[in-house]
Protein backbone atom coordinates (compact mmCIF):
# COMPACT_ATOMS: atom_id res chain seq x y z
CA UNK A 1 0.00 0.00 0.00
CA UNK A 2 2.68 2.40 0.98
CA UNK A 3 4.56 1.67 -2.23
CA UNK A 4 1.47 2.56 -4.21
CA UNK A 5 1.15 5.98 -2.62
CA UNK A 6 4.84 6.53 -3.22
CA UNK A 7 4.42 5.95 -6.92
CA UNK A 8 1.35 8.07 -7.43
CA UNK A 9 3.10 11.45 -7.27
CA UNK A 10 5.30 10.37 -10.17
CA UNK A 11 2.24 9.82 -12.28
CA UNK A 12 1.10 13.33 -11.50
CA UNK A 13 4.17 14.60 -13.31
CA UNK A 14 2.94 13.00 -16.50
CA UNK A 15 -0.53 14.48 -16.47
CA UNK A 16 -2.17 17.85 -16.94
CA UNK A 17 -1.29 18.82 -13.41
CA UNK A 18 2.09 20.15 -14.49
CA UNK A 19 0.98 21.89 -17.64
CA UNK A 20 1.81 25.16 -15.95
CA UNK A 21 5.51 24.39 -16.40
CA UNK A 22 5.09 23.48 -20.03
CA UNK A 23 5.82 25.87 -22.87
CA UNK A 24 2.21 26.00 -24.05
CA UNK A 25 1.60 29.71 -23.54
CA UNK A 26 4.84 30.84 -25.16
CA UNK A 27 4.48 28.50 -28.12
CA UNK A 28 0.84 29.42 -28.52
CA UNK A 29 1.63 33.13 -28.34
CA UNK A 30 4.31 32.72 -31.01
CA UNK A 31 1.94 30.95 -33.40
CA UNK A 32 -0.86 33.46 -32.79
CA UNK A 33 1.51 36.41 -33.18
CA UNK A 34 2.79 35.06 -36.49
CA UNK A 35 -0.71 34.29 -37.73
CA UNK A 36 -1.81 37.82 -36.83
CA UNK A 37 1.30 39.18 -38.55
CA UNK A 38 0.57 37.20 -41.74
CA UNK A 39 -3.05 38.46 -41.76
CA UNK A 40 -2.02 42.07 -41.16
CA UNK A 41 0.65 41.84 -43.84
CA UNK A 42 -1.92 40.43 -46.28
CA UNK A 43 -4.31 43.33 -45.60
CA UNK A 44 -1.57 45.68 -46.83
CA UNK A 45 -0.85 43.62 -49.94
CA UNK A 46 2.13 41.79 -48.39
CA UNK A 47 4.24 44.93 -48.44
CA UNK A 48 7.87 43.88 -47.83
CA UNK A 49 8.20 46.33 -44.91
CA UNK A 50 5.39 44.47 -43.12
CA UNK A 51 7.43 41.28 -42.94
CA UNK A 52 5.48 38.72 -40.86
CA UNK A 53 8.59 37.58 -38.98
CA UNK A 54 9.48 41.15 -38.01
CA UNK A 55 5.87 41.99 -37.10
CA UNK A 56 5.49 38.85 -34.97
CA UNK A 57 8.73 39.66 -33.12
CA UNK A 58 7.39 43.15 -32.38
CA UNK A 59 3.98 41.77 -31.26
CA UNK A 60 5.66 39.36 -28.85
CA UNK A 61 8.02 42.04 -27.56
CA UNK A 62 5.10 44.42 -26.97
CA UNK A 63 3.25 41.61 -25.20
CA UNK A 64 6.24 40.87 -23.01
CA UNK A 65 6.72 44.53 -22.10
CA UNK A 66 3.00 44.96 -21.42
CA UNK A 67 2.57 41.89 -19.22
CA UNK A 68 5.90 42.09 -17.44
CA UNK A 69 6.79 38.51 -18.35
CA UNK A 70 10.55 38.04 -18.37
CA UNK A 71 12.27 37.61 -21.70
CA UNK A 72 14.01 34.47 -20.43
CA UNK A 73 10.64 32.93 -19.59
CA UNK A 74 9.45 33.51 -23.13
CA UNK A 75 12.68 32.33 -24.70
CA UNK A 76 12.70 29.13 -22.69
CA UNK A 77 9.01 28.57 -23.35
CA UNK A 78 9.22 29.11 -27.09
CA UNK A 79 11.85 26.41 -27.42
CA UNK A 80 9.56 24.01 -29.35
CA UNK A 81 9.24 26.65 -32.09
CA UNK A 82 12.98 27.17 -32.10
CA UNK A 83 13.55 23.42 -32.21
CA UNK A 84 11.47 23.11 -35.39
CA UNK A 85 14.08 25.23 -37.16
CA UNK A 86 16.46 22.25 -37.39
CA UNK A 87 14.07 19.88 -39.22
CA UNK A 88 12.78 22.77 -41.34
CA UNK A 89 16.27 23.63 -42.59
CA UNK A 90 16.84 19.95 -43.45
CA UNK A 91 13.57 20.06 -45.44
CA UNK A 92 15.05 22.82 -47.62
CA UNK A 93 16.65 19.90 -49.47
CA UNK A 94 13.24 19.27 -51.08
CA UNK A 95 12.78 22.56 -53.02
CA UNK A 96 16.51 22.43 -53.73
CA UNK A 97 16.18 18.96 -55.26
CA UNK A 98 13.12 19.96 -57.29
CA UNK A 99 15.18 22.78 -58.85
CA UNK A 100 18.22 20.62 -59.58
CA UNK A 101 17.96 21.12 -63.37
CA UNK A 102 17.77 24.92 -63.07
CA UNK A 103 20.62 24.93 -60.57
CA UNK A 104 22.81 22.78 -62.83
CA UNK A 105 22.18 25.15 -65.71
CA UNK A 106 23.10 28.14 -63.51
CA UNK A 107 26.45 26.99 -62.13
CA UNK A 108 28.37 30.02 -63.28
CA UNK A 109 25.63 32.42 -62.16
CA UNK A 110 25.82 30.90 -58.68
CA UNK A 111 29.63 31.12 -58.67
CA UNK A 112 29.51 34.80 -59.68
CA UNK A 113 26.93 35.53 -57.00
CA UNK A 114 29.17 34.03 -54.33
CA UNK A 115 32.32 35.64 -55.73
CA UNK A 116 30.63 39.03 -55.33
CA UNK A 117 28.27 38.46 -52.42
CA UNK A 118 30.66 36.85 -49.95
CA UNK A 119 33.34 39.60 -49.94
CA UNK A 120 30.81 42.44 -50.32
CA UNK A 121 28.82 41.04 -47.40
CA UNK A 122 31.84 41.01 -45.12
CA UNK A 123 33.50 44.22 -46.34
CA UNK A 124 30.34 46.37 -46.42
CA UNK A 125 29.52 45.55 -42.80
CA UNK A 126 33.11 45.83 -41.58
CA UNK A 127 33.68 49.01 -43.60
CA UNK A 128 30.59 50.84 -42.40
CA UNK A 129 31.23 49.88 -38.77
CA UNK A 130 34.87 50.96 -39.04
CA UNK A 131 33.95 54.30 -40.64
CA UNK A 132 31.48 55.01 -37.86
CA UNK A 133 34.03 54.20 -35.17
CA UNK A 134 32.93 50.80 -33.88
CA UNK A 135 35.33 48.93 -31.59
CA UNK A 136 37.60 46.25 -33.14
CA UNK A 137 35.72 43.51 -31.30
CA UNK A 138 32.38 44.69 -32.66
CA UNK A 139 33.86 44.85 -36.16
CA UNK A 140 35.14 41.28 -35.88
CA UNK A 141 31.78 40.15 -34.53
CA UNK A 142 30.13 41.76 -37.57
CA UNK A 143 32.34 40.08 -40.17
CA UNK A 144 30.40 36.77 -40.39
CA UNK A 145 26.97 38.43 -40.01
CA UNK A 146 25.61 37.20 -43.36
CA UNK A 147 25.99 33.48 -42.69
CA UNK A 148 23.70 31.15 -40.81
CA UNK A 149 23.98 31.48 -37.01
CA UNK A 150 25.53 28.07 -36.34
CA UNK A 151 28.41 28.79 -38.71
CA UNK A 152 28.76 32.48 -37.84
CA UNK A 153 29.29 31.67 -34.16
CA UNK A 154 32.20 29.35 -34.95
CA UNK A 155 33.80 31.86 -37.31
CA UNK A 156 33.36 34.70 -34.81
CA UNK A 157 35.13 32.69 -32.15
CA UNK A 158 38.02 31.88 -34.48
CA UNK A 159 38.63 35.47 -35.54
CA UNK A 160 38.25 37.00 -32.08
CA UNK A 161 34.72 38.31 -32.12
CA UNK A 162 32.09 37.95 -29.41
CA UNK A 163 29.90 34.91 -30.04
CA UNK A 164 26.79 36.27 -28.37
CA UNK A 165 27.07 39.59 -30.16
CA UNK A 166 27.48 37.74 -33.45
CA UNK A 167 24.26 35.78 -32.87
CA UNK A 168 22.37 39.04 -32.33
CA UNK A 169 23.94 40.59 -35.45
CA UNK A 170 23.20 37.51 -37.56
CA UNK A 171 19.50 37.57 -36.62
CA UNK A 172 19.31 41.33 -37.26
CA UNK A 173 20.96 40.80 -40.65
CA UNK A 174 18.49 38.05 -41.53
CA UNK A 175 15.54 40.29 -40.75
CA UNK A 176 17.10 43.22 -42.60
CA UNK A 177 17.63 41.02 -45.67
CA UNK A 178 14.12 39.58 -45.54
CA UNK A 179 12.58 43.06 -45.31
CA UNK A 180 14.92 44.88 -47.71
CA UNK A 181 15.64 42.11 -50.23
CA UNK A 182 12.43 42.46 -52.26
CA UNK A 183 12.68 46.29 -52.12
CA UNK A 184 16.35 46.49 -53.08
CA UNK A 185 16.09 43.98 -55.94
CA UNK A 186 13.08 45.85 -57.31
CA UNK A 187 15.09 49.10 -57.16
CA UNK A 188 17.87 47.30 -59.04
CA UNK A 189 15.25 46.19 -61.61
CA UNK A 190 16.16 42.54 -61.06
CA UNK A 191 13.26 40.18 -61.78
CA UNK A 192 15.10 36.88 -62.30
CA UNK A 193 13.95 34.76 -59.31
CA UNK A 194 17.27 32.89 -59.39
CA UNK A 195 19.17 36.13 -58.85
CA UNK A 196 16.77 37.53 -56.25
CA UNK A 197 16.87 34.30 -54.24
CA UNK A 198 20.61 33.84 -54.53
CA UNK A 199 21.35 37.41 -53.39
CA UNK A 200 18.96 37.15 -50.45
CA UNK A 201 20.33 33.77 -49.35
CA UNK A 202 23.94 34.94 -49.58
CA UNK A 203 23.28 38.20 -47.73
CA UNK A 204 20.76 37.06 -45.15
CA UNK A 205 20.88 33.26 -44.67
CA UNK A 206 17.78 31.43 -43.37
CA UNK A 207 15.52 34.39 -42.65
CA UNK A 208 16.20 35.75 -46.14
CA UNK A 209 15.58 32.25 -47.50
CA UNK A 210 12.23 32.04 -45.70
CA UNK A 211 11.24 35.29 -47.42
CA UNK A 212 12.55 34.15 -50.81
CA UNK A 213 10.42 31.00 -50.54
CA UNK A 214 7.38 33.29 -50.37
CA UNK A 215 8.31 34.71 -53.80
CA UNK A 216 8.44 31.29 -55.47
CA UNK A 217 10.20 27.93 -55.31
CA UNK A 218 12.99 28.94 -57.68
CA UNK A 219 13.88 31.94 -55.50
CA UNK A 220 13.64 29.75 -52.41
CA UNK A 221 15.88 27.04 -53.81
CA UNK A 222 18.52 29.54 -54.95
CA UNK A 223 18.35 31.26 -51.56
CA UNK A 224 18.93 27.91 -49.79
CA UNK A 225 21.88 27.31 -52.06
CA UNK A 226 23.28 30.81 -51.49
CA UNK A 227 22.89 30.37 -47.74
CA UNK A 228 24.53 26.94 -47.67
CA UNK A 229 27.44 27.71 -49.99
CA UNK A 230 28.13 31.11 -48.45
CA UNK A 231 28.12 29.50 -45.02
CA UNK A 232 30.57 26.78 -45.95
CA UNK A 233 32.86 29.12 -47.93
CA UNK A 234 32.85 31.79 -45.22
CA UNK A 235 33.73 29.21 -42.58
CA UNK A 236 36.70 28.09 -44.71
CA UNK A 237 37.90 31.42 -46.07
CA UNK A 238 37.23 34.19 -43.56
CA UNK A 239 39.56 32.98 -40.76
CA UNK A 240 42.20 32.16 -43.37
CA UNK A 241 42.05 35.58 -45.08
CA UNK A 242 42.17 37.40 -41.75
CA UNK A 243 45.22 35.39 -40.72
CA UNK A 244 46.98 36.18 -43.99
CA UNK A 245 46.42 39.92 -43.89
CA UNK A 246 46.40 40.83 -40.20
Amino acid sequence: MSSLSQHLPHLANLTWATLADKPILETGATVFAFLAAVRLSRVFGNHPLLNPTLLAILFIAIGIEATGVRYETYLRGSDPVHFMLGPAVVLLAVPLFRQTATIRASGRLIAIGLLVGLPVGVLSAVGIAWLLGASPQTILSLAPKSVTAGIAVGVSEQIGGLQNLTIVLVIMTGIAGAVLGPIVTRLARVNDPRVVGLSMGIASHGIGTARALQINEVAGAFASLGMGLNGVLTAMLLPLVLKLFF
Binding site: T53, V90, S135, L169, A188, G220
Partner: protein, 132 residues
Protein backbone atom coordinates in the same frame (compact mmCIF):
# COMPACT_ATOMS: atom_id res chain seq x y z
CA UNK B 1 4.03 10.73 -43.06
CA UNK B 2 5.67 9.46 -39.90
CA UNK B 3 8.30 7.79 -42.10
CA UNK B 4 9.15 11.16 -43.61
CA UNK B 5 9.38 12.85 -40.23
CA UNK B 6 11.70 10.02 -39.17
CA UNK B 7 13.76 10.50 -42.35
CA UNK B 8 14.24 14.21 -41.64
CA UNK B 9 15.11 13.62 -37.99
CA UNK B 10 17.49 10.82 -38.98
CA UNK B 11 19.60 13.10 -41.20
CA UNK B 12 19.39 15.86 -38.60
CA UNK B 13 20.70 13.42 -35.97
CA UNK B 14 23.54 12.32 -38.25
CA UNK B 15 24.35 16.02 -38.73
CA UNK B 16 24.31 16.50 -34.97
CA UNK B 17 26.66 13.57 -34.45
CA UNK B 18 29.00 14.88 -37.16
CA UNK B 19 29.09 18.33 -35.61
CA UNK B 20 29.41 17.19 -31.96
CA UNK B 21 32.17 14.74 -32.74
CA UNK B 22 34.05 17.51 -34.53
CA UNK B 23 33.93 15.56 -37.80
CA UNK B 24 32.35 18.49 -39.64
CA UNK B 25 32.52 22.10 -38.48
CA UNK B 26 29.00 22.70 -39.79
CA UNK B 27 25.76 23.12 -37.83
CA UNK B 28 23.63 19.96 -37.75
CA UNK B 29 20.76 21.35 -39.89
CA UNK B 30 23.14 22.37 -42.70
CA UNK B 31 24.75 18.91 -42.75
CA UNK B 32 21.28 17.34 -42.56
CA UNK B 33 20.17 19.40 -45.56
CA UNK B 34 23.12 18.20 -47.63
CA UNK B 35 22.60 14.57 -46.59
CA UNK B 36 18.87 14.62 -47.39
CA UNK B 37 19.69 16.21 -50.76
CA UNK B 38 22.24 13.47 -51.42
CA UNK B 39 19.68 10.82 -50.55
CA UNK B 40 17.12 12.37 -52.89
CA UNK B 41 19.72 12.63 -55.65
CA UNK B 42 20.49 8.92 -55.30
CA UNK B 43 16.79 7.98 -55.20
CA UNK B 44 16.07 10.23 -58.15
CA UNK B 45 12.70 11.28 -56.79
CA UNK B 46 11.01 12.77 -53.74
CA UNK B 47 8.76 10.49 -51.65
CA UNK B 48 5.29 12.03 -52.04
CA UNK B 49 4.71 12.63 -48.34
CA UNK B 50 8.11 14.26 -47.99
CA UNK B 51 7.17 16.81 -50.65
CA UNK B 52 3.93 17.57 -48.81
CA UNK B 53 5.73 17.84 -45.47
CA UNK B 54 8.35 20.21 -46.88
CA UNK B 55 5.76 22.43 -48.57
CA UNK B 56 3.64 22.66 -45.41
CA UNK B 57 6.50 23.31 -42.98
CA UNK B 58 8.50 25.66 -45.18
CA UNK B 59 5.43 27.81 -45.69
CA UNK B 60 5.88 29.09 -42.14
CA UNK B 61 9.67 28.91 -41.98
CA UNK B 62 9.59 32.62 -41.10
CA UNK B 63 7.73 31.84 -37.87
CA UNK B 64 10.52 29.61 -36.62
CA UNK B 65 12.86 32.61 -36.38
CA UNK B 66 10.52 34.57 -34.11
CA UNK B 67 11.99 33.31 -30.78
CA UNK B 68 15.50 34.19 -31.97
CA UNK B 69 14.29 37.62 -33.01
CA UNK B 70 12.67 38.22 -29.63
CA UNK B 71 15.99 37.19 -28.10
CA UNK B 72 17.63 40.00 -30.06
CA UNK B 73 15.19 42.52 -28.58
CA UNK B 74 16.04 41.22 -25.12
CA UNK B 75 19.71 41.97 -25.77
CA UNK B 76 19.20 45.28 -27.58
CA UNK B 77 20.38 47.08 -24.44
CA UNK B 78 23.82 45.54 -24.84
CA UNK B 79 24.18 47.22 -28.21
CA UNK B 80 23.38 50.75 -27.05
CA UNK B 81 27.04 51.85 -26.75
CA UNK B 82 27.61 51.22 -30.44
CA UNK B 83 24.04 51.24 -31.63
CA UNK B 84 24.53 53.58 -34.59
CA UNK B 85 27.55 51.87 -36.21
CA UNK B 86 25.98 48.43 -35.63
CA UNK B 87 22.60 49.36 -37.05
CA UNK B 88 24.19 51.12 -40.03
CA UNK B 89 26.50 48.18 -40.70
CA UNK B 90 23.71 45.62 -40.45
CA UNK B 91 21.03 47.48 -42.43
CA UNK B 92 23.31 49.34 -44.84
CA UNK B 93 25.68 46.41 -45.32
CA UNK B 94 22.85 43.98 -46.02
CA UNK B 95 21.15 46.32 -48.50
CA UNK B 96 24.46 46.98 -50.29
CA UNK B 97 25.26 43.25 -50.42
CA UNK B 98 21.91 42.30 -51.93
CA UNK B 99 22.02 45.24 -54.37
CA UNK B 100 25.53 44.62 -55.70
CA UNK B 101 25.17 40.83 -55.82
CA UNK B 102 21.83 41.07 -57.60
CA UNK B 103 23.02 43.65 -60.14
CA UNK B 104 26.22 41.77 -61.04
CA UNK B 105 24.57 38.33 -61.17
CA UNK B 106 21.67 39.74 -63.19
CA UNK B 107 23.99 41.29 -65.79
CA UNK B 108 25.76 37.97 -66.07
CA UNK B 109 22.46 36.09 -66.42
CA UNK B 110 21.22 38.51 -69.08
CA UNK B 111 24.50 38.31 -70.99
CA UNK B 112 24.68 34.52 -70.94
CA UNK B 113 21.04 33.98 -71.87
CA UNK B 114 21.58 36.30 -74.85
CA UNK B 115 24.77 34.41 -75.69
CA UNK B 116 22.87 31.12 -75.46
CA UNK B 117 20.38 32.21 -78.06
CA UNK B 118 22.59 34.31 -80.35
CA UNK B 119 25.98 32.67 -80.45
CA UNK B 120 27.75 29.42 -79.89
CA UNK B 121 28.39 28.33 -76.28
CA UNK B 122 32.16 28.75 -76.68
CA UNK B 123 31.88 32.52 -76.86
CA UNK B 124 29.38 32.65 -74.03
CA UNK B 125 32.05 33.57 -71.52
CA UNK B 126 33.49 36.33 -73.69
CA UNK B 127 30.03 37.81 -74.14
CA UNK B 128 29.53 37.73 -70.39
CA UNK B 129 32.77 39.61 -69.88
CA UNK B 130 31.87 42.32 -72.37
CA UNK B 131 28.37 42.88 -71.03
CA UNK B 132 29.41 43.04 -67.39
Amino acid sequence: MLEQIARVLFWLCIGEIASRSGLLPLPAPVTGLMLLYAELAIRGKIPEDLGVLADRILQFLGMLFVPAGVGVIAYLDLLKLEFVPILAAVIGGTAITIFITAVVANRFAAATSKADTDVAPEVEEAAGDVKS
